[in-house]
């Protein structure tokens, strides 16, 4: 059974259709990169997977649980799916270690010391243990994003969603975040990553999905996608983006 499965997903904002008939799946341990021009719907698609955005047609299942089903316990579902945002979204009024323990305690019901222990271990893993008592506002963008990844990992997720994790970072900080993500992929995490970073895709992606105007235009294994993309649109996109 695939970890994440999307079947004929369509979404409208009022009259405007933002997603059209999107079908794909992510198996356990797979790393999928979703790319495409802005406005292609890639961020919207990924936000539908953990029900942050509703969708009107089709179905999405995560680990067998139907996301669109009104009876589904959404907080419970979301606690198993990690998400990392473009603008980090750490909680500015809480210290770094409090950011890491909040959801563990309030959602998973872990005792405080256990939550703290796990949180600190993850902070070490992303190389930021020295910042545990600082506040988000005192950290750089790259540091904040690494903490955000640790925060998502603190919930022991079965899969992780990344919504343009490096788009808001200064160029010199992009690599420190990508390194963490590469390590995560090598450790076997199931990942769905919306990004422009093709270097990352080449390194660890299993498949690449290319979206344009709300549709999945290509869904191919990494080598096929970079080697000989089937659609003209994807070819055009790649030629422009790979010049850098």
């Amino acid at each position: 059974m695939p970890m994440i499965s999307l079947e004929g997903v369509s979404k409208w904002y009022g009259q405007f259709q933002v997603l059209t008939d999107c079908t794909t799946q992510v198996d356990k341990g797979e790393v999928i990169v979703v790319c495409g021009p802005s406005g292609s719907g890639k961020s919207t698609l990924i936000k539908c997977v953990n029900a942050l955005e509703p969708f009107q047609k089709g179905s999405i299942t995560v680990n067998g649980v139907s996301v669109g089903d009104p009876k589904t316990n959404l907080p419970k579902l979301r606690s198993h799916v990690g998400m990392v945002f473009q603008h980090f979204e750490l909680f500015p009024h809480l210290s770094i270690k409090e950011n890491l323990t909040l959801a563990q305690v309030k959602v998973l019901g872990r005792p405080k010391n256990e939550a703290l222990g796990r949180g600190l271990k993850l902070l070490e893993r992303v190389g930021l243990i020295a910042q545990k008592d600082k506040f988000p506002g005192q950290l750089s963008g790259g540091q904040q994003q690494r903490v955000a990844i640790a925060r998502a990992l603190s919930m022991d997720p079965i899969c992780m969603l990344f919504d343009e994790p490096t788009s808001a970072l200064d160029p010199e900080m992009i690599n420190e975040v990508l390194d963490v993500m590469v390590q995560l992929a090598k450790d076997g995490m199931t990942m769905m990553v919306v990004t422009h970073e093709m270097g990352f895709a080449r390194k660890v992606a299993d498949r690449v999905i290319f979206m344009d105007q709300g549709r999945i235009v290509e869904d191919a294994k990494k080598d096929d996608f970079f080697g000989k993309p089937r659609s003209d649109r994807a070819q055009l996109f790649l030629s422009k983006i790979l010049q850098h």
Partner: protein
Amino acid sequence: MGYDFDWSSIPGALPFLWHGAVITLEITAIAILVGIAWGTLLAIMRLSPNRALSWFAASYVNLFRSLPLLMVILWFFLIVPAVLRNLFGGAISDIRLASAFVAFALFEAAYYSEIIRAGIQSISSGQISASLALGLSYGQSMRLVILPQAFRNMVPLLLTQAIILFQDTSLVYVIGLSDFFGTAYRVGDRDGRIVELLLFAGAVYFVICYGASWLVRLLQSRITIVR
């Protein structure tokens, strides 16, 4: 100017003026506490997806914001005694004060709820996405993530509204309640020294309000959350 100033009636009147000041402070305090509590609830109701709740909150706020405070005070002085008589039989000892408490608390809640609502909405929607993505419920997200941040930012505005409210308490004059201003006027009227007492009252209000707003400005520079 042909007026002979004579400030002599003030020292003797200080006990009365102090008693009036206590009334002013009591009304202010109740209005702030109940106003912020009820106002927060109203703000959350207004922002909730439940249409009935948000319609009720919006109507409440719009009603109280379109009426002059003076009319609201008169209204509750009409209604509260009748209600209390039905609930408790005999009249409460200080019916004017009770009406004033109710009027100010319910009125200020409408104004506070607008400040709080704006504060909640000023927190980026990414914060609520991040909270929900971690598996927190909507209620938990509000309580643990959004409201703490919103209130930190709102404190200067909430305090400024409190200073305005403090000044507005003088309007209880219209129901014959002797707050600080009312007492000052009555003393002046009694002693034929209205001019001195009114200037004295004005000066006292000025010192208190100016001092308080200066403190709020000081607080504002220290309290903003570094983003």
